[in-house]
Symmetry: C2
Subunit: 564 residues, 2 copies
């Protein structure tokens, strides 16, 4: 019965009256001092993070987005929303739409067809890390309930924060010699952090520790004895995080909109693009407050931990906990991170079993490379280049000249490639080619990690798939063996997600059904990695789509253009 | 004979073979240290100022412009080129085209139909001041010569330079409370300046006095005894300048592409958007170098003077002159500036007499105002607002909903307005309305200056007209009297220009013939003033135009759009 209920939510229009959730947003630059350092942030209606979108299953969300930036375009991706039937509103600049130019108002309109916790953020240039981000909460209709209970529902968004502008960062990334963006200056918890204004070398007048925007940390207030559902999303630019609340266990119950077979953690590892719901009972001594801490893992970072206050009512919300904040796990404790990944299973009674076989296996070697001396990231030695005309239009209207028609490879030379070494030949090829998937076929993706261009270094990459969820059917360390490893796949109760990480020198296997007509990006969610070419694009069933809205046109071949 | 020659150049296609001058430009951000302070500049093929366009009369200039900015659009205006028959290539974002989005390549193609010195620069947001600027030199065909002689021809572009980004500046200008951009940090002479790196409060690591980009000043090398034509253009963001070369007189011979009846100055006042040619004879003691100095006038500025070296060959070009640089005129010496303006007449034998009467007189009161508490600048109490769809397309295709159809006023309430006082009611109205001019009619514009919102303050505004030259027929101090002042107009030998200033508390009268089908901006050339609404738009004869290129579409109403 529970399974039936879940399936019905996924595929059948809900019988109760679906509503329109209408938002009017204005995007512009404003000076913000989120971590006490004053810099320009891209805001929505003056806020960063932007307003949380709250809707019920099968509601239609309408966001009327006015671009009030002076010279910059924008596009917003609704991260985790599959956009069934509305691939043109996925909000991915260069893939599903031309960007929204200053002065224009673009209307995103899509159905939120599943309950859960999702995200939204800019998907154009590096604008996401300029603060254009937020959360989406889709609730069950009245009378239906989650398979777990709680008293209150809260959300927090975790981010990292740079003091350099996105222009400064991207110019460095595109320079010879390459200038890496470096570690973020701060970690923000729902937009609040604290940078040390006594750091030497700052420009005078920009850092003010007493600014009310940052002088007190973010506060999560709880009533003793109550249980909280805390929805946690990460939209970091770079950082993989560990999040914990001092002295409190967390029971993981949701991941990327899917019910998880509950398991308990002391700290939650969360990668950029992921969401989790955890249950937390306020069951500790109620006479004090506790620290909530976000900490960078998988990199030996200089960034101080992000701190918030887990405030037991009626203690004063700004009262500092009497303890030193927990230090969190070691940054290089890969095993614990793998353990959490492997612990994540679909909840009993809510299992959507994957197809037991796949029609196609694409192995994707993730490497750091160079092209003409410029630093890049690549998949199977191809570093992606977005075309001027969005793929969705180019495919739909058969504008074959728009992008490279030679498909990218499904394999790398795994026999001869040593994933544990810095490769000898670092050159990659830039291409705009895409993977064409048979509609309704089942596709396996093996993300294969490798050494970077620095000896003895391999990084963690969170990969996000647009337009679909996938089953996470396997993780492993070292080189994936296409003969033996698939035998270990979990095809019984794998969790479904839209974002999953591949650990250093490891591999991750995922399976999805190409059942959503459109063109969909699949990419590393680290802002600089995507910028440097670490992504691919899938296309399926575009010929089944009706007419796309003209609002997505205006660039490349689509100036003064009507569809043929 | 000379008059005939001049007229023939202005109106008759030149018989010699006209050539195509083809330029391929890539626009992007690069780190530059032009005044020793490292910041992002918008460059053309890696340079700021960009390459000088060199052409002969009646050549066709083709600029293939690739926008390699990450998220920003761009548009380039060809300042002083009238664009007869090609109004869509005037390069004014929101007026004559949709901006060029990142990744797109836009082809500007226009005829340079008159000899002289012109400019080009970004005309979108505040991008001009980010370094996207340069010069255009149009020479006479071989065998023809200017009515003055010189041995060598040189060009320099004068600018001011801010360390804040255009985003930081514009965000301040659009904030409550208003944050003024302040005085520029440096004056650059052809892209080179020198900021004092020991200034307290700078961010560490950004200012380096030994950077080769700035460690030595710009050098103008001359051979003793020779005469130099020095073409001087100003594209300052804010500053009105005085330019002089220590110990050398300058004979003014050209202004904005027109021959000037020669007159001698010790220092040249030059406003943003103006060009001059001066003749300088290297007739001083040849054993040393001399200072060339640009200095801010009309504002009590804290910006240090810009310095270059006027190098007498064979002295070492970096050898400092043994003297203290000249201090230049007093910043508030309005009389000298007016004197220079009034001295500027058309050269005998090259006079193009203006029509002796006009069909319409538009008096434009220039005021500083507020709209809903936001600081603005206005003309006759209207602060312009660009529409989302460019005027040229909106007028041509009769998209009347695109902009306010009520024409702006031809007058202000001059009887009751005290131009010497801060006005009582500071509120202005924002509007996108335009002035429709009868084709081929003669129009007089009276620019009437007034007090700003600061008591006892009135500023200098350089006004630039797109698509036309105008005759400067009168200057005056105080309030223009429509009954008596026109009797003092110079209708005999007024100079023609495309940019002219109105001095504090003064007025300037200009006359032009509305003979160029198109839609044309007329605005204060101070970047922040134009941003804050100090401009108007003229339309004439658009119904006579053929089809515009689809390359100018893509924004507002012109997404997925074909002309009706």
């Amino acid at each position: 019965m529970a399974l039936f209920l879940s399936l019905s939510l996924l595929s059948v229009p809900f019988a109760a009256e679906a509503r329109i959730r209408h938002y009017k947003w204005e995007v512009k630059y404003e000076y913000k001092s989120q971590d006490c350092y004053k810099k320009l942030a891209i805001t929505i209606n003056g806020r960063t993070p932007g307003p949380t979108i709250e809707a019920q299953v099968n509601d239609t969300v309408v966001v009327e987005l006015k671009n009030s930036l002076l010279t910059e375009n924008v596009a917003i991706h609704w991260h985790g929303i599959r956009q069934k039937g509305t691939p043109w509103f996925d909000g991915t600049g260069g893939v599903t739409q031309c960007p929204i130019v200053p002065g224009d108002t673009f209307v995103y309109k899509f159905v939120v067809d599943r309950p859960g916790t999702y995200l939204y953020h800019a998907h154009y240039g590096l604008q996401r890390e300029a603060g254009l981000n937020g959360m989406i909460r889709v609730s069950l209709p009245p009378g239906e309930s989650e398979p777990y209970t709680y008293d209150h529902d809260r959300s927090i968004l975790l981010t990292d924060w740079y003091h350099q502008s996105t222009y400064e960062q991207s110019t460095g990334l595109s320079s010879l010699p390459f200038v890496w963006v470096g570690e973020p200056q701060s970690l923000l918890i729902h937009g609040k952090g604290k940078f040390d204004c006594s750091t030497p070398g700052l420009k005078a007048g920009l850092c003010n520790a007493t600014n009310p925007e940052c002088s007190s940390p973010y506060v999560i207030t709880v009533v003793p004895g109550k249980t909280y559902r805390l929805r946690i999303g990460s939209l970091t630019s770079l950082a993989a995080l560990s999040f914990e609340i001092e002295g409190h266990n967390m029971t993981v119950v949701e991941a990327d909109g899917h019910n998880v077979e509950p398991f308990v953690v002391k700290n939650l590892f969360i990668y950029s693009g992921e969401t989790y719901s955890v249950l937390i009972k306020a069951d500790q001594a109620p006479t004090r407050n506790y620290w909530a801490v976000s900490k960078i893992v998988s990199r030996e970072s200089t960034t101080p931990n992000g701190l918030a206050i887990f405030n037991y009512y009626p203690n004063h919300p700004r009262r500092s906990p009497p303890t030193v904040p927990p230090v969190g796990p070691a940054w290089n404790d890969v095993a614990s991170r793998l353990t959490q990944g492997e612990a994540m299973k679909a909840r009993q009674g809510y299992i959507l079993p994957p197809p037991q076989t796949s029609d196609r296996v694409i192995v994707m070697l993730n490497t750091q490379n160079e092209i003409n001396g410029y630093r890049r990231w690549s998949v199977n030695n191809i570093s992606y280049n977005l075309p001027d005309t969005p793929y969705l239009i180019a495919v739909k209207d058969r504008l074959n000249h728009v992008f490279d028609q030679t498909p990218p490879p499904d394999r790398y030379d795994s026999q001869n490639y040593d994933i544990f070494s810095k490769r000898n030949n670092t050159n990659a090829t830039a291409s705009s080619s895409i993977y064409k998937l048979q509609f309704n076929s089942t596709v396996d993706i093996i993300l294969q990690n490798a050494n970077t261009m620095i000896p003895n270094n391999s990084e963690t990459h969170p990969w996000h798939l647009h337009g679909h969820d996938f089953w996470v059917i396997g993780y492993g360390q070292g080189k994936f063996d296409i003969n033996s490893d698939p035998k270990k796949y979990n095809l019984v109760d794998p969790i479904m997600k839209n974002t999953v990480s591949v650990q250093p020198y490891g591999w991750t296997a995922l399976r999805f059904v190409a059942d959503n007509p459109g063109v969909w990006a699949f990419h590393c969610h680290i802002e600089a990695h995507f910028y440097l070419g670490m992504g691919v694009v899938f296309e399926e069933g575009v010929e089944m789509l009706g007419r796309y809205p003209t609002s997505i046109t205006g660039c490349g071949d689509t100036k003064g253009y009507r569809r043929p």
